[in-house]
Amino acid sequence: MAEEVKAPPANFKVTIDNITIEVAPGTTVLNAARQIGGDVAPPAMCYYSKLQGSGGKCRTCLVEVAAGSTADPRPMPKLVPSCRTNVMDGMVVKNITSERVIDARNGVVEFLLLNHPLDCPICDQAGECHLQDLGYSHGKEGTRYEFERRTFEKEDIGPYIQLHMTRCILCYRCTYVADQLTDKRVHGILDRGDHAEISTYISKAIDNDFSGNMIDVCPVGALTDKTFRFKNRVWFTKPIDAHRDCDNPKCCGKATLWLRGDDVYRVTTRKDEWGEVQSYDGKPGWICNTCRFDKKKTSDWVIEGPTKINRHSVIAQGHYENGVIPKDTTKEVMGGRAPKLLMDIHSVSEVNPNK
């Protein structure tokens, strides 16, 4: 009797941290976990769903496969990168429920921070930095590294981007942008090991219509927008969704404007909850340099409304759209009089005297 050949199921069942979900075959463990959402989704520093071939390098998304599949339920001996491992039907994955994973991830965070300065107070990525978030969730209170860190001179790569190689964690995302999105790739990885660095080929500048997207994919503050550097802190600005009719066919024309008052401080792509550029009609919503760097007036754009942001995000600070400001009752209780200061600090302090 011929052996019965079973057709593969239309969907694979995968259990991640005790939550079972059905996903299409070919889905990675990371993307399956993202469909569940929340803490079940492993962090990712180098994976970027819109960049082909990205992922697998930073090792922050390592997970434990407790059962390979229904057909072969043996566990995988090593932790696997969830961003590059496809789900199998019946697979059982442990992310935050695995002590091994947490231990390994703590190690990865420590490794990533060996040569990444904690200069968050002056870094333009502060508030939007994935490594900052990862450090808070998986880092230790102190470092065990006591040697000199590697440092680099800042490098202007083109008119719009400054590279702080000192902050770079070599996630390779910007090189994938260069490969897949821009016409003229002139930068890449030089050298190897912990001497490796992102740089331009024989001092050439990055100069093409979509180079600005490299800034958006950088998970840390290594590639910064020269038109925004040190102009403001991200949590003081207000993100607004806007679009314009861009004549560049590769540009989606949908962006986020970061306002302070009515001034547009910077323009970025619109990002999803994973910090990745949002897709429109199945296409990643990259924007061109004209939209990003040259359209800095609200009149250049059609304003759609406030950008939805996670209320736990630092960007949400100071943006209580519907918040109720407590009523100041001082005057009422004082019969309409303004309070009188009993003492002016400047009159008694020698520091910064009020002269």
């Binding site: 930073c58 090593k78 990168p81």
Partner: protein
């Protein structure tokens, strides 16, 4: 004296030339193989029990049977001659003195795998061997053993030699493939495995030089005959490159039934340790495999004599055993400093890390710095524990085995020689007094005085 299959004609004058090699029975396996089917050759290799000689020891026949065979898609054989593991120099000898055995093995293997274009990826430092191989390829072609319609069989095969640019990581099969394609030699993330998508995204088998050379006696004498040599799953002969504190360093072909003690002390092999010094330790399979102290080297965890084969060397796991690896046998006498040797290895792996994944990129450099600190008498006891923790966080968490290769020597050194690390910490002045004449280690160690 053990039987020799690869080096039996090594001392024949002029064996490097096609005429002499052919006169001595060379290329018989090609004549035989071309009359067999591809499947039969793979079956013979399976029967032989041949395990990959590059270090991992994976069964070769099984690896060959994994190769995908999509209709109309070419397949490739790539010979890994990027012999960069410190302590391993066996392939160099084989290619330099008997190049035709590799070419002969490649023709047979290419036929079995259906590869019409095969490559030898050789480390750039072996520049002179490239010329030797290219001459051998030209001779084989001239005599009808390469090119179109080999010996009238209808089988076409070309072999190209590709030089690497001198990176250890390019010995890892996927990094080798990247480099062969002209790209930066970074390991690929598996899957897909090379057997499905290798060179030019085509099904590819990557085998070590010695592995492919061993195919010649397997086809000549049959897989079963080959399997009779050796013991258990360690069949056939193995080339060992012996170095360090021994009287007779060199390349030895052993049949894996001899003991480690016999290999070190007998006149037939290493000839003992110079000046009657005591054996302290040995790295038996190339620098990446764990070091073993003398007592565990000569006796297994079960209390039996340690033999020169895959199973016996690995007995008890890494707690009491090590690995056969590539066969780079490094012997250390009682005067050797384990901390210094471990530093030397850590320095190498730090230098050679490709930098793709964070644990290897950052961890290898960190380990080197701590080892340097300890070796130069500036270490603390907590540094030894820190080293242990770092290697633990690297092992198994990297894209390719270079992370493991960097972690294992450190782990084994601490496991077996912790007292020596502590001596360095507790006797800083004596540590600093020692001078090995290593000028390149003399650069200052950047340790803040406050820590």
């Amino acid at each position: 004296m053990g039987r020799k299959l690869l080096l039996d004609k090594a001392n024949v004058p002029g064996i490097r030339s096609f005429e002499v090699y052919r006169r001595e029975g060379g290329y018989r396996s090609v004549e035989k193989a071309l009359k067999m089917s591809e499947a039969d050759i793979v079956e013979e290799v399976k029967k032989s029990g041949l395990r990959g000689r590059g270090g991992a020891g994976f069964p070769t026949g099984m690896k060959w049977s994994f190769i995908a065979k999509p209709e109309g898609v070419p397949r490739h054989l790539v010979v890994n001659a990027d012999e960069s593991e410190p302590g391993t120099f066996k392939d160099r000898y084989l290619m330099e003195f008997i190049p035709h055995i590799l070419i002969e093995g490649m023709i047979v293997s290419s036929f079995a795998l259906g590869s019409n274009v095969s490559y030898i990826y050789i480390r750039g430092e072996y520049a002179w061997i490239v010329d030797i191989l290219e001459e051998a390829i030209a001779e084989a072609k001239q005599h009808g053993f390469l090119g179109n319609n080999i010996l009238g069989s209808g089988f076409n095969c070309e072999i190209y030699v590709q030089r690497g640019a001198g990176a250890y990581i390019c010995g890892e099969e996927t990094a080798l493939i990247e480099s062969l394609e002209g790209k930066r030699g970074n390991p690929r993330i598996k899957p897909p495995f090379p057997a499905v998508k290798g060179v030019w995204e085509r099904p590819t088998v990557v085998n070590n030089v010695e592995t492919i050379a061993a195919v010649v006696p397997i086809i000549n004498e049959g897989g079963e005959e080959y399997a009779k040599i050796g013991v258990g799953k360690s069949t056939g002969t193995k080339l060992i490159s012996a170095c360090g504190n021994i009287n007779k360093p060199g390349i030895y072909e052993i049949d894996m039934t001899i003991s480690v003690e016999e290999f070190i002390y007998s006149d037939e092999y290493c000839g003992g340790i110079p000046n009657g010094k005591k054996l302290k330790a040995c790295i038996p399979g190339g620098s990446s495999v764990p070091i073993l102290p003398a007592n565990l080297l000569l006796t297994t965890a079960k209390g039996e004599k340690r033999m020169m084969n895959y199973e016996s060397l690995a007995d008890g796991g890494f707690a009491t055993g090590t690995m056969m690896g590539s066969g780079g046998f490094i012997v250390m006498d009682e005067d050797q400093c384990i901390v210094r040797h471990t530093l030397s290895l850590a320095r190498f792996y730090h230098h050679e890390s490709c930098g793709q994944c964070s644990p290897c990129r950052e961890g290898t450099g960190w380990m080197e710095k701590i080892l340097k600190k300890i070796e130069y008498g500036k270490g603390e006891i907590k540094d030894i524990d820190l080293l242990w923790d770092i290697q633990r966080k690297i092992e198994g968490n990297t894209i390719c085995p270079l992370g493991d290769a960097a972690a294992w020597p450190v782990a084994a050194a601490i496991r077996h020689f912790r007292d020596e690390f502590e001596w360095h910490v507790l006797n800083p002045e004596e540590s600093q007094k020692r001078n090995y004449g290593l000028a390149h280690y003399a650069d200052p160690i950047h340790v803040p005085s406050a820590v």
